[in-house]
Amino acid sequence: MKWDKISQIADNVVSGKTSATELVTKSLNLLKDAKEYNSVIASLEESALKRAKEIDDKIANKEHVGRLAGVPFIAKDNFLVFGADTTAASNILKGFEAPYQATVINKLETEGAICIAKANLDAFGHGGSTENSDFGPSLNPVDKSKVPGGSSGGSAVAVVLDIVPFALGTDTGGSSRQPASFSGCVGYKPSYGLMSRSGIVAMASSTDTVGLLTKSSEDLALLLEIMSGKDPLDSTTIEPQDNYSEVKPVDVSKLKIGVIKQYMSSGVADNVRSAIEQSLANLKKLGATVEEVGMPSLDYSVPAYYIIVPAEISSNLSRYDGQRFGYSSQSAENLDSSYISSRSDGFGKEPTRRILIGTYVLTSGYYEAYYRKAQLARTKIINQFNDAFNTYDFLIGPTAPTTAFKFGDKTDPLQMYLADSLTVGSSLAGIPAISLPLIDKPSPDNMPVGLQIMSRQNQDKQLIQFAEQIEKEIQI
């Protein structure tokens, strides 16, 4: 069965049409039924039912329960949440129980939302298919022989399968948008700093954001209103805009939309390009000015991203050393061998590869040659986005160059990295981006395609309102 809009679900709980316990039980049952998709690593059955009862009791006592009363959700397993281990899908964190919760989890709980499970991911967020999970991959909800995308694959699967009305992902270089595109739901990466990173297992601090996977843009708006804001525990958080969930129709005929030339080039599969072109034609029909815009700096986004991000990864993963928490090698005979075996055994192939790349580019002598140059390229990319937004209200392109691929198709890590080619640019620039599922399914393989829309930094509200308008006028 389909879920109502999130605000409607909460209203139904508060008005007694349904109960938190009923909703949580329903989600948990759906999760069990969908076990073969391996969308989650751990269920929070016990704590979720307990919280549901608390909320139902509050409602019975006519106490305030918040705007997400009884709404079940799933959090990617790199969010620190009470009630189950937080593993980030890596063996090195197996058995780690969070002693504190992520700020955004606390914010959702304050409004009455209930986390029912921890979603599968590529370990530490490293990947675009969930094949790098130490807990096995998740399956694409449309075609089980294909990947669901990643790294927030489990979260996307859970939303597309209607297990929960929304799921939390993270997006460092496309990790929420790309699985949304592959699996067929809305995937959103906010402006950098709009939602707190505190209590989320860090991948690359300068591009890490919370990601949201939902059924609609309207749901996004409500969640953003609740989850955004400056956090004293994260000094990179920014002041949000007001009133994200304000309903305001957008006059599409007044919009200037830039189609990024580099995002419609030969690297993009025909079926994806034609799906996007169809949407662009629809936008034109509504009166929007749609023009091609060349952004040559974006050619450097993948190389720059795969220097900066591994550098930060190598640094952020230093704390997993087997000395204080998580996996610790029992065969080690001294400190050095404890470090070496704990990390060698605990980290999978892809985290190890990224640690090595990152360590290399930060090594004295290579720092200037790689890291510094990548940062310069990043500045050029930011400037190019700013220039483009001086002309265009929104920039558009596909979310991913292909539709979901088959398991094992991309064994070469470089091929896998190119799957991020259309999402890493906005991550480096820190601007908001959304992936909308094109539900008219024009692609011959019948797989979902995502339309990516980007807006200026901290104009998430305008972006989401435009996305809502598209959902109304084009998709539905």
């Binding site: 620190l80 937080t86 980030a88 964190l93 780690f96 969070a98 002693p99 504190y100 992520a102 990173r197 505190s198 209590g199 989320i200 297992v201 860090a202 690359a204 601090s205 300068s206 004293p232 525990l233 994260d234 000094s235 990179t236 550098a311 930060e312 190598s314 640094s315 230093s318 704390r319 050393d321 000395q323 204080r324 928490f325 400190l335 470090y339 360590t359 930060l362 090594t363 004295s364 720092y367 890291y371």
Partner: protein
């Protein structure tokens, strides 16, 4: 031992890195108590100090303020723009696997510290000073097959002050270290408690017969001014000896063995770490608001150099000045300099008080600090009243000191009527001519032989008569007044 002639052929260059622990209430990047002195191991830690997944550092603004104060103490201004970087290495007392420091853009660039050498004042250049978070503490119980880690200190804010190699002798090295101590203390940057490791010095020493600097060694973690001087001296001698034997100096890290009074090799250059410095993406750059900086500059307390000028202007000698400056920092509860400063309009009085401070109060506090009068107003009254009694000759010099000792030792009260108290204690001397005249007349009457001797020109006899007057007055007569009256009565 090498003879002095050979030593004199070498020039010495010493640079000092000093880690100063800032006196913030909480740690540099976590809202956790920064004072670990009496705390149980690992009781002052949070998810940030422990390096848990998802923990993010949040900069303590107080540390920035203290760094700004330090910059003014170092005779410069804070950098308008500074950033934090990560310095990577693996060790159990470094939970995140990196130390947060300021490698690329430190908060202080340039500056100087003036020391007073035998040849007069000398400026030691400051290269830079940067903020960083301290590591935890590892201990290795002897015989045990484990080590212990205490993370209470992990994240304590440090300011690392790096000098130019402008220091040219072990004495200067000690003076520089000591002057830094005074500066940090006066500027309110640090408690500068060396016993608790609030200041740690790394001394870089090289010697050379040419204009070029020689290969340097770094002796790390010195925690006293004496060990700074001794380690520098030891390294100079060791390096010259090696060079004279035709051997090369290894660029290396050395440690100071306090028991054996020598430096020992700890880590060679070949083991030098590649720290893979990287800008810390969790901490936005610090862009200082210039109004904030101005406010700090305007509220800076007087620094040792300024106090020296003042104390010099009231004609105290060098050693008294240094004693006062040093004593000032020993307690937070009382101040010598403020009291002197409050009386600076009366230069004769203030000099008298300063003398008493050096000769009475400071030695007194050395023995029993806790029970003494700390209140500034009370001490001011004590000093001023004693000075008045002394200047009006009601107190002898030695009784003035006795009275001060009594009054300062009594922490509660005794400032209401000091003169009455002095009288009760029999400390006042008789300066009333009439009273002394009566005694003088008695003494003359009772000592005809001595009177005759005086009249015959025997000067010694007048001393005897003065002594008799003092005896009769039970020591309370002012001896000079007594002598004057005796002479007058005897018609001399």
């Amino acid at each position: 031992m090498i003879n002095k002639q050979i030593i004199d052929q070498y020039s010495v260059a010493i640079g000092i890195e000093c880690h100063v622990q800032l006196k913030t209430v909480s740690k540099l990047f976590a809202a956790v108590d920064n004072d670990a002195r009496d705390a149980e191991p690992n009781s002052l830690i949070s998810h940030i100090c422990f390096g848990l997944p998802g923990a993010l550092p949040v900069l303590n603004e107080k540390a920035i303020e203290l760094a700004c104060r330090a910059s003014f103490a170092l005779n410069t201004k804070p950098a308008k723009f500074s950033t934090f970087d990560r310095k990577h290495y693996f060790y159990p007392d470094l939970p995140m696997g990196y130390q947060i420091t300021q490698f690329y853009n430190p908060i202080i660039i340039g500056g100087s510290v003036e020391i007073i050498t035998e040849k007069g004042p000398k400026k030691i250049g400051i290269t830079r000073a940067h903020l960083e978070a301290d590591a935890g503490k590892s201990s290795h119980p002897s015989g045990a097959d484990y080590s212990l880690v205490d993370l209470n200190r992990a994240g304590t804010p440090l300011l690392e002050i790096v000098s130019e190699p402008d220091i040219t002798s072990p004495t200067e090295a000690r003076q520089y270290a000591h002057e830094l101590f005074l500066l940090m203390k006066y500027a309110g940057v640090s408690d500068a408690d060396l016993y608790h490791g609030n200041m740690r010095f790394d001394v870089n020493v090289s010697v050379s017969k040419t204009d070029e600097l020689g290969t340097r060694t770094e002796t790390k973690n010195l925690n006293s001014f004496r060990s700074v001087e001794k380690a520098a001296q030891y390294e100079i001698n060791r390096q010259i000896e090696l060079l004279e034997k035709g051997q090369a100096i290894d660029q290396e890290t050395r440690g100071w063995d306090e028991a054996k009074q020598k430096t020992t090799s700890q880590r060679g250059k070949e083991h030098a770490h590649d720290y893979r410095y990287m800008p810390d993406p969790d901490i936005p750059p610090v862009e200082l608001d210039q109004t904030f900086v101005k406010q700090i500059e305007d509220t800076m307390p007087l620094l040792p150099g300024q106090w020296r000028q003042f104390l010099d202007s009231i004609q105290l000698d060098q050693s008294q000045i240094e004693i006062l400056l040093e004593s000032e920092v020993l307690s937070e509860n009382y101040s010598y300099l403020e009291l002197l400063s409050n009386n600076k309009a009366e230069s004769k009085l203030v000099k008298q008080i300063a003398n008493w401070m050096v000769n009475v109060e400071i030695p007194l506090r050395r023995d029993n600090d806790s029970e003494l009068q700390d209140d500034l107003t009370a001490r001011n009254t004590i000093y001023r009243t004693t000075a008045e009694l002394y200047n009006s000759k009601k107190l002898s010099s030695s009784n003035a000191k006795l009275l001060l000792t009594e009054l300062l030792s009594n922490s509660n009260g005794l400032v209401e009527n000091i003169e009455k108290y002095a009288e009760e204690q029999g400390l006042l001397q008789l300066s009333d001519d009439n009273q002394i005249k009566t005694i003088v007349d008695n003494v003359i009457a009772q000592n005809p032989q001595a009177v005759a001797d005086v009249k015959a020109g025997e000067q010694k006899a007048i001393g005897f008569l003065v002594g008799q007057v003092m005896k009769e007055s039970k020591g309370q007569a002012n001896p000079s007044v007594a002598k004057e009256l005796l002479n007058e009565s005897l018609g001399l």
